[in-house]
């Protein structure tokens, strides 16, 4: 069983390396250890989404029972998305759970994640706060997602308003990442964020 997992990953690795997406720099994959059980993936934020211009790194763990069970995947790069935990990077995607099929590959997983970035499913959320913002305050969601993409994934959109609010909290001794997370959750209401942090 373990042998099948390793030989498949080796073949898939070659497949990804030859794929068109690699040439276009839209997905990337690299090995973490010699046992082929841990890999690092990278996907480019899809065009016309708040993630455009960002590079998102993924942790990929291959179970011994692969390909009969799906790989375990999570975002290492912090991201603001209804189906991805803003805290842990855990992903809610059916093919990584019960809808996995043995014919799927690392390449199709990475492409599916890219598709997830382009089409969120707020009714099946991983991060309830993000999903609520997505449904209730879409413009704020777009700003927050672009801001996170800029800070954590190298995206192009800077928001001085966000930066200055984060700075205000930093001045009060709050860690920058915590400040960003709380402000994002509180729809960038500085007063509410402060209340949340100090109550």
């Amino acid at each position: 069983m373990a042998n099948m997992a390793v030989s498949r990953i080796k073949r898939e690795f070659k497949e990804v390396m030859r794929s068109e997406e690699i040439v276009q720099c839209s997905i990337k994959i690299e090995l973490i250890n010699d046992s082929w059980t841990e890999l690092r993936g990278e996907i480019a934020g899809p065009p016309d989404t708040p993630y455009e211009g960002g590079k998102f790194v993924l942790e990929i763990k291959v179970p011994e029972t692969y390909p009969f069970n799906p790989p375990k995947v999570r975002f290492i790069t912090k991201i603001w998305h209804p189906n991805i935990s803003s805290v842990t990077g855990a992903i809610c995607l059916d093919i990584l759970k019960d809808n996995w099929a043995a014919a799927m590959t690392l390449r199709t997983v990475l492409l599916s994640l890219q598709a997830l970035l382009a089409a969120a499913e707020p009714d099946d959320p991983q991060d309830a706060v993000v999903a609520y913002q997505y449904k209730d305050k879409y413009q704020l969601f777009l700003m927050t997602a672009k801001h996170w993409t800029n800070i954590y994934a190298g995206g192009p959109h800077k928001f001085t308003e966000c930066d200055s609010k984060i700075q205000r909290l930093k001045d009060m001794g709050i860690d920058e990442h915590d400040a960003r997370a709380v402000l994002s959750k509180e729809n960038w209401d500085l007063e509410k964020a402060t209340e949340n942090l100090f109550s």
């Binding site: 069983m1 099948m4 759970k97 099929a101």
Partner: protein, 146 residues
């Protein structure tokens, strides 16, 4: 015949007779691919659903029935030999090219796989890994309603 061909031809006939306990064994300990997890526990492990793994002794009665039905169904799927002229060249589960005369199992959607590869998969999910077609839609509905 390559060394990957441990399946003897009498299998097909015994399957049609639908003998129970000996066939249950075929899926686990008697396979040519060694499964370290199974030998560790010294008893077969089953997957009532893709994410639930359970040693045989811990299965509920309902799960036992489900698995027995699944085994029965799998055994009625035809086994043939790869003739080298098919459009399908590799088993998409292990991603290894088929050899001529190798034993392959046919699903109703006409996708083919190595017998041990697809049996391992079908024991977790009764769908074709390539097209997601339920292997027996009618049987699946009875599972869901029961």
């Amino acid at each position: 015949m390559g060394n990957c061909l441990q399946i003897n031809s009498t299998d097909d006939i015994s399957l049609l007779r639908g003998s129970e306990s000996s066939n249950t064994h075929d899926f686990t300990s008697d396979r040519n691919v060694p499964a370290p997890i199974y030998s560790e526990l010294l008893q077969p492990v089953f997957f009532p659903s893709p994410s639930t793994r359970r040693p045989a002794s811990n299965l509920t009665e309902e799960e036992q029935v489900k698995i027995a039905k699944r085994i029965g169904l799998i055994q009625h799927l035809p086994i043939g030999t790869y003739d080298g002229s098919k459009k399908i060249r590799e088993c998409v589960i292990c991603m290894i090219d088929f050899c001529v005369d190798e034993a392959v199992r046919y699903l109703p959607c006409m996708h083919i796989y190595h017998v041990h590869c697809i049996d391992d998969w079908l024991m977790r999910s009764l769908t074709c890994p390539s097209c997601m077609e339920p292997v027996d839609a009618a049987l699946l509905t009875t599972y869901e309603t029961s």
